[in-house]
């Protein structure tokens, strides 16, 4: 089937290749590097820093998976994808995991044959407008010109929102976040819409972030999470439980600072099971006992990743909100490691 990957790429749009093997884990281990699909550049979530090294919240998930599977958080090949190319890249086998602010929806899960392994950020679609436009609510946007990133759920939410509120609007479809930012700043559109986290991240890069307001309405549910191909359940399990390990680690108080100390053995059997000192969870996944420990050490637990890249101390300044642990009134709830 290897040759069919090469030739298959020649077929119509090259979409059909890549079923080369169901065992993504074997492929990744043989390759020694994880191919991870990320945003083309969204500060805080996935963006190359001054040294050309990818940084961000979604990037953190990729690094954790690489650490769990390959033992090296840096063994990741980041493939930047646009809203339009991401699913093709995943379906064709170009990437092993997609961690690109991707909304979990029914049709993507069922019809596009993708598997969402969990949610790493609970988001919703919002609007940003220049302050001097004097708009205080999304309900006042009748007749506005709206910049959207094409190929995303925001396109459909936007149509629904304006239709249900009986308002007219003019969509300006744009390919990437950077371009829509340019067009918005040039004034070719009145408002810019995308996930609220994306708005905050985009605004943080403006020269005068204070000149722009994010309108209070959130018009949709956007649970964002890592995605894998449908049909390889072992690989889906690995990514799912790596993410769960990061979330559970925060809940149980495992941080990158105390992990060495805790992995010597504790009184809490769940911590012991996660860190591999008790039970054989790593083996069940086809990995070794330390997989979760390495994943957490890669960039810290969920809370640490959040604070470092998008939290209140960063320019993006997102509060935990819905993304707090369930014990703190949020929605993050990792199933038990048992």
């Amino acid at each position: 089937m290897r040759t069919s990957v090469v030739l298959g790429a020649v077929t119509v749009a090259g979409l059909t290749a890549g079923i080369a093997s169901a065992a993504t884990l074997d492929d990744v281990q043989a390759r020694g590097v994880l191919n991870c699909g990320v945003n083309t550049g969204l500060v805080g979530f996935a963006n190359p820093d001054a040294n050309g090294e990818w940084q961000g919240f979604d990037v953190g998930v990729c690094r954790a998976v690489a650490a769990a599977v390959l033992g090296d958080p840096m063994a990741v090949n980041f493939v930047s994808t646009t809203g339009k190319t991401r699913f093709t890249a995943l379906a064709s086998g170009e990437i092993d995991v997609l961690a690109r602010n991707t909304t979990w929806t029914f049709s993507r899960d069922v019809d596009l044959k993708l598997d969402f392994v969990g949610v790493n950020y609970y988001d919703g679609q919002g609007f940003m407008a220049p302050r001097d436009l004097g708009v205080t609510s999304a309900k006042e946007l009748d007749g506005a010109t709206v910049c959207i990133q094409t190929g995303t759920t925001t396109e459909l939410n936007l149509a629904d929102f304006f239709r249900s509120n009986n308002m007219a609007y003019e969509p300006v479809p744009i390919e990437t976040n950077a371009e829509s930012q340019q067009q918005y700043l040039a004034g070719t559109c009145d408002v810019f819409t995308t996930d609220a986290s994306g708005l905050a991240a985009t605004r943080a890069t403006f020269e005068n972030p204070g000149d722009h307001v994010i309108l209070p309405e959130i018009i949709s549910k956007e649970p964002l999470g890592p995605v894998v191909r449908h049909g390889d359940n072992e690989w889906a399990d690995i990514v799912r439980w790596t993410l769960n390990a990061l979330i559970a680690a925060e809940e149980l108080g495992i941080t990158s600072a105390n992990i060495e100390e805790l992995s010597a053995g504790t009184n809490n059997p769940e911590i012991n099971r996660i860190l591999g000192t008790e039970g054989s969870m790593g083996e069940m996944l086809g990995l070794d006992a330390d997989f979760a420990k390495r994943a957490i050490m890669a960039g810290g637990n969920y809370g640490e990743l959040f604070e470092r890249f998008i939290g209140e101390s960063t320019p993006i300044g997102l509060s935990r909100g819905l993304n707090a642990q369930w014990t703190d009134g949020g929605l993050l709830y990792a199933p038990p490691f048992r």
């Binding site: 059909t16 044959k113 094409t150 190929g151 459909l156 479809p173 390919e175 009145d190």
Partner: protein, 406 residues
Amino acid sequence: MTTTTTDAPPQRSFRLSMLIYDTRYRSYTFQFIAMILVFLFFAYLINNLIQNLAARDQNISFDFLGDPAGYDINQMLIPYDNQMSHLRAAFVGVLNTLLVAFLGCITATVLGVIAGVLRLSNNWLVGKLMAAYVEMFRNVPVLIWILIIFNIMAFAMPQVRAFRGENPESSMLFGAIAFTNRGVYVPKPIWESGSLIVVLVFLASIVGAIWYRRHATKVLYDTGRMLPRGWPTLAILVVPTLLVYFVMGRPIGLEVPELRGFNFQGGIQVRGSLIALWLALSVYTGAFIAENVRAGIQAISRGQTEAAYSLGLRPNRTMSLIILPQALRVIIPPVISQYLNLTKNSSLAIAVGYMDITGTLGGITLNQSGRAIECVLMLMLFYLTISLTISAVLNVYNNAVQLKER
């Protein structure tokens, strides 16, 4: 008695080795082998497609075309809203593609012919300017030109909010046309009752003008008397229409765009994306057409010009009556392929968010439905159909101007 036995030439039976060693059969053998290989290659690709689709538990189905599209399109030549089907959205895209291709072909031809003729001008400055135009636009990718023009429009033109307030920074041209970075807003004609008659009179005047010009040509050929052409044509076109317009009580009004809410309302908005795409495709393809025109003109023997001059024709008339009609035969075939290029290049529209067929069917529909193979197949079929239609139509024209050997 003599018997002449004419031995029939030995009937050599067909042997298999003749397929390779006999020149009569050899070419068939190799063509047959090549054909089998091509078939096998395509069979392999199709089989691979079907197998992989089956492995992913997918199929080829066009049912999604009937589902509601769910997204909005900003430029619609036919009524459309987000509850209509994907097929309808694709059709909106088709019309947008055809619109920009049609506009582009016309302006590219005008630009190309002017630049091509002027490049041969004896005026040094004009010739060099046109050479610079051709080389500059021909040698930079069209996508770059599209982006350059789009960004110039976005950043150099006034924003809509600059028109707002007591003392706006920008004002409308003639109080009717607004140049903004979202596009150009122009007045829209309002057709009231009675306007049909005005339009009919105008169409009749066009027919009249054509008839008059034919008549003038005939008089010229028959008697050698030259009737004036310019002002009578203009008069035939304008006077009756104006008369009827005022007699009917001015049935055609103008809806001037005005700033209301976020945008200019009313009038027609020629979007920045359309302008950028249209202009870029025109100047880019125009540069190629200019070269075709120049080549066509230079293909006509110098003797033709000299003969025309010796008959006393002035340079303008030499060009339009002697050189260009002959040059057309050389010019048209390559220009057809430029039209095809322009139409296909219009698929770069997505770079500026112009919703052509690639943007609707091949962009949003493909992405939201996940039916990539079906959408791409339909796109290929569409561009193929359009290209073949354009070349068929232009080939008919080409045959019409071809040298008729009698």
